[in-house]
């Protein structure tokens, strides 16, 4: 082949490729989705994307997750460079709010599907005054207690509903001695706050009522309803295993799934892992109420949202997709594929996993709220969330009294948060 023909052949090939790409673009729109959920890659590729593309053949989806720890940094630099995908998976609260304020996320308040979500569900991705919502709420995690059904039968105790019954059950296990009553450690600190304080707390501060009053400055952390959860935690110490001070989160998970402990203060994200690890039957119960007949409150914490890059070239296609994410069809696929991450829409969802069913059933009986420290209150220094970890762990260990811990948190919050001054 002479050099000339070779060049022209190359040129021809190049031209065909370009033409081909051009032709494909005219027909189809491809939306790229940014996410940190690389665990869910196969679920997106095998279930979610085919379901969507079957309904909307003109829109193709490309799910491109990055590592969770790097996501925020990677996304920020991609957005600044203009190379980010069309659809952005949103972290709750301040991280996404900062993106919205910097003009990277579009206001989606007028999206049809938004009417499927309650204000609590939207709170993770709304401006402080609630006027604009910039991400479609996708999934939440619910707190409660997972228990070993076989252990309960063996020791002959019933699932507790009230505080009194809860401690009676713990006492029964302690007396029996076969099982550690409750599997939790304070070494990593966050379990004490997330699965302790924010799990049982809403029952005392009455969920949203207390949480919004705290943000508005009408209640303070030293009020009775905010100190009481710490008093409860202070009682937990004696029911945790020997040396719980040095017990880590994976230790607790293993102790429970090996069948050595009876009760595990949990978040619903444990369901998938526990199902594969534990060989006994598990059940779940919501945080016990102070007296029989009281309203129960659960922490139904918004965790994943999904929004639209303001710089996308295909805003119409992106909106079509987001509307579909807000539909019950998506909710059903997602909830069953990843048990433990519950859809936030009001649409009816049928779950197959019994443990996940148990968790989601509390939404009908109890009032939902989110973790008290996440919205607005952890913006300053000292950071309220980090302080709550520390205080909850100290109270469980008995190195700080509930009242002192609450006073310390209040002082820290009041030092920078005006409504609390």
């Amino acid at each position: 082949m002479t050099p000339t023909t070779r060049t022209s052949l190359k040129g021809a090939l190049l031209a065909t490729t370009l033409l081909g790409a051009g032709a494909a673009q005219a027909q189809d729109v491809t939306l790229t989705i940014e996410s940190w959920r690389n665990d869910d890659l196969s679920i997106w590729q095998d279930e979610i994307i085919p379901a969507f593309e079957a309904e909307h053949p003109a829109i193709k989806l490309n799910f491109t997750p990055s590592a969770p720890a790097e996501y925020n940094a990677v996304l920020n630099s991609k957005l600044d460079a203009g190379s980010a995908g069309d659809i952005i998976t949103c972290r709750p609260f301040d991280a996404s709010l900062a993106l919205y304020e910097a003009g990277h996320l579009t206001d989606l308040s007028d999206l049809d599907g938004m009417s499927n979500f309650s204000d609590v569900a939207k709170s993770g991705w709304s401006t402080d005054d609630g006027s604009a919502t910039y991400c479609v709420p996708m999934a939440s995690v619910i707190h409660g207690f997972i228990y070993n059904k076989e252990a309960f039968e063996e020791v002959g105790v019933e699932v507790p509903e009230t505080e009194e019954e809860f401690y009676a059950v713990l006492d029964a296990f302690k007396e029996d001695g076969t099982y550690i009553p409750m599997a939790m450690g304070t070494n990593d600190q966050w379990e004490a706050a997330t699965m302790g304080y924010n799990n049982i707390g809403p029952t005392y501060w009455k969920g949203e009522e207390g949480r919004t009053a705290l943000i508005a400055g009408e209640q303070s952390l030293t009020d009775e309803q905010w100190v009481e959860p710490f008093r409860q935690l202070a009682k937990w110490g004696e029911y945790l295993g020997d040396g719980f001070e040095a017990q880590t989160y994976p230790d607790s998970q293993n102790i429970f799934t090996l069948g050595r402990a009876a009760i595990y203060p949990a978040g619903s994200w444990e369901i998938a892992g526990f199902n594969t690890q534990a060989i006994f039957d598990m059940g779940a119960f919501p945080p016990p109420v102070p007296a029989a007949g009281d309203t129960c409150y659960i922490s139904d914490h918004t965790d994943i949202g999904i929004g639209m890059n303001a710089a996308t070239e295909h805003p119409e296609a992106a909106r079509t997709f987001l509307n579909w994410v807000a539909s019950s069809e998506f909710s059903n696929i997602f909830a069953n594929a990843i048990p433990g991450f519950f859809p936030l829409s009001d649409a009816e969802v049928t779950l197959e996993d019994p443990l996940a069913q148990e968790f989601i059933s509390w939404r009908d009986e109890c009032e939902s709220t989110i973790r008290s420290t996440y919205q607005i209150l952890s913006r300053g220094t000292p950071n309220l969330e980090n302080d709550t970890w520390n205080a909850s762990a100290a109270v469980i260990k008995g190195t700080e009294s509930p009242e002192d811990a609450a006073a310390r948190l209040q002082d820290g919050l009041a030092s920078w948060y005006e409504p609390q001054q």
Binding site: D94, A102, G241, T248, Y374
Partner: protein, 307 residues
């Protein structure tokens, strides 16, 4: 007298130095000065503004910051004290034993004691967490076997023991370094001196105290300074064992973890590169002062012996 002809500029020196100077500047000098520079700025409404020494005023003047800073500095000092009081004497003792000509298998001991030094801190942190774990660990069982179970406590989870425990883990890991340096110094002492001492009746322990120790003092000085710099820059072991919050209740928080938490943020706490740099600058200052005290106060008084 004829003037010697002017030597040509020796380009090869510059050429050979250039790669090292370039790499060192790019990875050490530039980041150092940029960190110092960052500490003089702050972010206000998405803009970086010059604030002079305001960040330092916050760090030392604001109770929220200064409390954490002094706590971290205090813990760091304790971390250093343990190393100086435990690691270096043990290192010297081991080196003295190893250099004894009558010791058998000394190469084996030397290697065995040095190996932890080359292990990753992640492995060391994880292994010791498991050993000391109240649930799966072998520490409670071993103490039980010799009837000392009552001595066991979940050390890493108790405010009063956690830092000391981690310091000792770090000592276990790094004791090989002073041992090797002192061992080398001991080997370099000429036999004639020791033999001359023997003629004067100085043998055994007194040979160590009166002849060897004075001769290895400069090495001990260098080891102290290395320990000081390494301890005040420490971060990895605490992070691997206790996480960025340096629990329980910040009792193991040292300057490195405090800086990391502030600079990169943690959980809901957003990162603040400017305050983080301020802490890093303070660490730099502390280490600089410490090293200067050593260089001007101690090293100049050490006598060197010519053999």
């Amino acid at each position: 007298m004829a003037q010697p002809s002017k030597k040509p500029f020796r380009w090869h020196i510059a050429v050979f130095l250039a790669p090292a100077v370039f790499v060192y500047t790019a990875v050490m000098i530039y980041p150092l000065f940029n960190t110092l520079r960052l500490s003089l700025y702050s972010r206000v409404d998405q803009e970086r503004v010059w604030v002079g020494l305001d960040n330092f005023r916050t760090l030392f003047g604001d109770a929220i910051w200064s409390e954490q800073f002094w706590n971290a500095l205090g813990n760091n000092t304790w971390f250093f004290v343990i190393h100086m009081a435990v690691q270096n004497p043990i290192g010297i003792a081991l080196a003295a034993l190893l250099s004894s000509p009558r010791l058998r298998f000394s190469a084996f001991y030397r290697t065995a004691i040095f190996i932890p030094t080359i292990l990753s801190f992640v492995i060391v942190g994880f292994a010791w967490k498991l050993i000391l774990s109240p649930i799966w660990g072998i520490a409670p069982g071993m103490l039980d076997a010799i009837g000392l179970k009552f001595l066991y406590a979940p050390w890493l989870g108790k405010e009063e023991y956690a830092l000391t425990t981690l310091s000792l883990v770090s000592v276990w890991q790094y004791v090989g370094i002073p041992m090797m340096l002192i061992y080398a110094a001991l080997l370099s002492i000429p036999d004639e001196i020791l033999e001359a001492g023997e003629c004067d009746g100085i043998t055994g322990m007194s040979a160590f105290w009166k002849i060897k120790l004075p001769l290895i003092l400069p090495s001990i000085g260098i080891i102290s300074v290395l320990t000081f710099v390494a301890n005040f820059n420490a971060f990895d072991l605490i992070y691997a064992a206790q996480g960025a919050l340096a629990g329980p209740d910040f009792s193991t928080d040292i300057l490195g973890t405090f800086m990391y938490r502030t600079f990169f943020g943690f959980q809901l706490q957003l990162g603040d590169p400017h305050m983080g740099s301020t802490i890093a600058s303070a660490m730099f200052g502390i280490i600089l002062i410490g090293v200067c005290i050593y260089l001007f106060g101690i090293q100049r008084r050490l006598r060197s012996y010519q053999f």
